[in-house]
Symmetry: C2
Subunit: 369 residues, 2 copies
């Protein structure tokens, strides 16, 4: 048996205890009336979390990247124009997926670590089929402005990646005119990785690609199972136990309340970010666009020829704390520190700050130590 971790990387986060318990619930068949009630309840909880009335809202049977691929394969065909906001790895991934499907990809870039300009996104093309961007860029810790793009999206379908935002900061699918959003379970929902909550507007449903290259992610076919009512038909076998886990995680979230969960994530993020600055570290994103649930910080000058990987390894071995490395152009230059879901607790932040201070040879300034 392996160790226990405080998961403060970019995800997975620690699951809520209620979620762990739910994983052990007796397995039901995917057509069992009692399981279908669980699935409908989970979908209803997801509507609340996404702040949407979209009928087609459900947990997709894959991780967040499967949600991204479902968005592209169902909405985009050869020659379609897709405007993508790119200021990190997941914006790049959207371009890659759209490109593989034969779309004409119009990139609207901002430097990694900076937010996108919403005006540049909406004015990049006169009549795109799809405008897509990432709400919370997991690679940089930047929050992109979604509402401003949604308000001016025009006739395009608006796709928003909420993998790292849902449950941690405000997400308002209907108010923001989002047509398709996908998330992940292993971030601010406090559930292990494996599912991608997804919601699809009536407009997006009208415009679904008729026979997407992907059968597994074909939303038209899946909708006949997840929201088929009495005419429900089998598509693929639903991942039963993980759906129990998601139901339980959403139960924790909605019992706490969305606003209270956002406030808890914000309080932890501020404590962490203030503490890192007090240690003399510099945060990557500009104020106003920092995610509370995922903090990126420049790797400081390190003592005694230590590498940044040594710091992470020591956190893991001596404290059981995982933090994340940088990726892409930020590899080796930043750390990514998550505070998401059940991990978003003051005690975890305090411990990390103390541990980091100790490893970096600082006497901790501020905080409780």
């Amino acid at each position: 048996m392996h160790g226990e971790r405080i998961l403060m990387g970019p995800g997975p986060s620690n699951p809520y205890p209620e979620v762990v318990a739910a994983l052990t619930r007796p397995v039901l068949g995917h057509l069992d009336p009692e399981f279908l009630a669980v699935l409908e309840h989970t979908s209803s909880q997801l509507r609340t979390a996404f702040r949407t009335d979209n009928q087609l809202t459900f947990p997709l049977s894959g991780t967040g990247s499967a949600g991204m691929e479902a968005a592209m394969t169902n909405l985009v065909g050869p020659g379609d124009v897709v405007v993508v906001g790119v200021n990190g790895l997941f914006g790049e991934r959207l371009c890659e997926m759209a490109g593989r499907l034969g779309a004409e990809v119009v990139r609207v870039e901002a430097p990694w670590g900076e937010p996108l300009d919403p005006q540049a996104v909406v004015s990049a093309h006169p009549s795109p089929t799809v405008i897509a961007l990432v709400h919370a860029e997991t690679s940089t810790g930047v929050r992109n402005d979604v509402a401003e793009v949604g308000a001016a999206k025009g006739d395009a379908l608006f796709v928003v990646d909420t993998v790292t935002s849902l449950g941690g900061i405000e997400v308002a699918v209907d108010d923001w005119h989002v047509d398709l959003s996908y998330s992940g379970t292993q971030k601010c929902l406090g559930v292990p990785p494996g599912l991608s909550p997804i919601t699809v507007s009536p407009l997006a449903r009208e415009r679904l690609v008729r026979r997407p290259t992907s059968w597994y992610l074909d939303l038209g076919l899946i909708s006949a199972y997840v929201s088929g009512g009495s005419g429900r038909t089998y598509h693929h076998t639903a991942p039963i136990s993980m759906i129990y886990a998601l139901e339980a995680g959403l139960g924790v979230l909605l019992e706490e309340g969305l606003e209270a969960s956002w406030a808890r994530h914000r309080a932890c993020g501020e404590l962490l970010q203030d503490g890192l600055e007090a240690l003399g570290l510099r945060l990557v994103p500009p104020a106003g666009h920092r995610l509370p649930q995922l903090t990126t910080v420049w790797v400081p000058e390190l003592p005694r020829g230590m590498t940044e990987a040594d710091v992470r390894a020591q956190l893991l071995s001596d404290y059981g704390i995982e933090i994340g490395a940088g990726v892409g152009p930020m590899a080796g230059r930043v750390w990514r520190i998550g505070c998401m879901g059940h991990t978003a607790r003051r005690r975890n932040v305090e411990l990390l700050l103390s541990a980091l201070a100790s490893i970096l040879g600082h006497r901790r300034l501020g905080g409780s130590s």
Copy 2:
């Protein structure tokens, strides 16, 4: 909280207790050295279960149908000739997936409930890119002959669906010259649904489509994570808890021994099939091609205007037993009774036979009641 079931449908089966326990193990990050050790152990166990030396063998992050789609999207492009053996729903699904990718699909059919003719499959086209068939047709309970096709596959890549066979009857990927096989966790492996074990031969790896339309299922990219060694790179977040569950399920399987597991499935299947015939019911597949782990039986004449759905509903409500309905042309005409993984126990078979005899108004012939 919902009820407990004896899952005797076409899957999911009941998970082994060790599997349920494993789901609660502490979540690790997908790049944590201790998790990577779990992943490598699981891959090694899968090589034993598949009877292969294929280095690229791992749990894909989706259900069995994702495995099927991974096979097609990575091996088949527009204009490629794909010979598909079709004698049930999952053969049809292979055709559908290949067709969506622009392949020229050559169908080799047998009636639902009958096995494929291996000779017809291998002689259907002089130089196919891929020959694909389903080993254990979950829709009909028929076992198709795989070894005979593999021995004569020529230069084609040979794809075999082992979703319902792996762990329940002999599967020998290397001996049978299989180039890519995918399975599912929720059948004879006794693990909840959610992952698709997959194995890819060196020849298939040489011929992978360079940039498949699916990014999520791109085996070239995934292999850099699952078998990247020290150069391992992140692709998507692995479904940690489900991989723990699979590791535990494979542990149970390999501790019992493959041959012993096949023998247990065979003994249960024979007990069930003999018992059904003793009740006067007729089995669908011909002798010699009946799956022990999944039995299809024609719905008999029913008492008092009862429908076949009433029988299934009564089994569920009065006995907590799930059995499966027919699909496609067999909808309403057959039952599908699984005896897979942890469910494959003599006591479950005896209980089902007694329950069925009682519901059908028979006095049970033979058996222990």
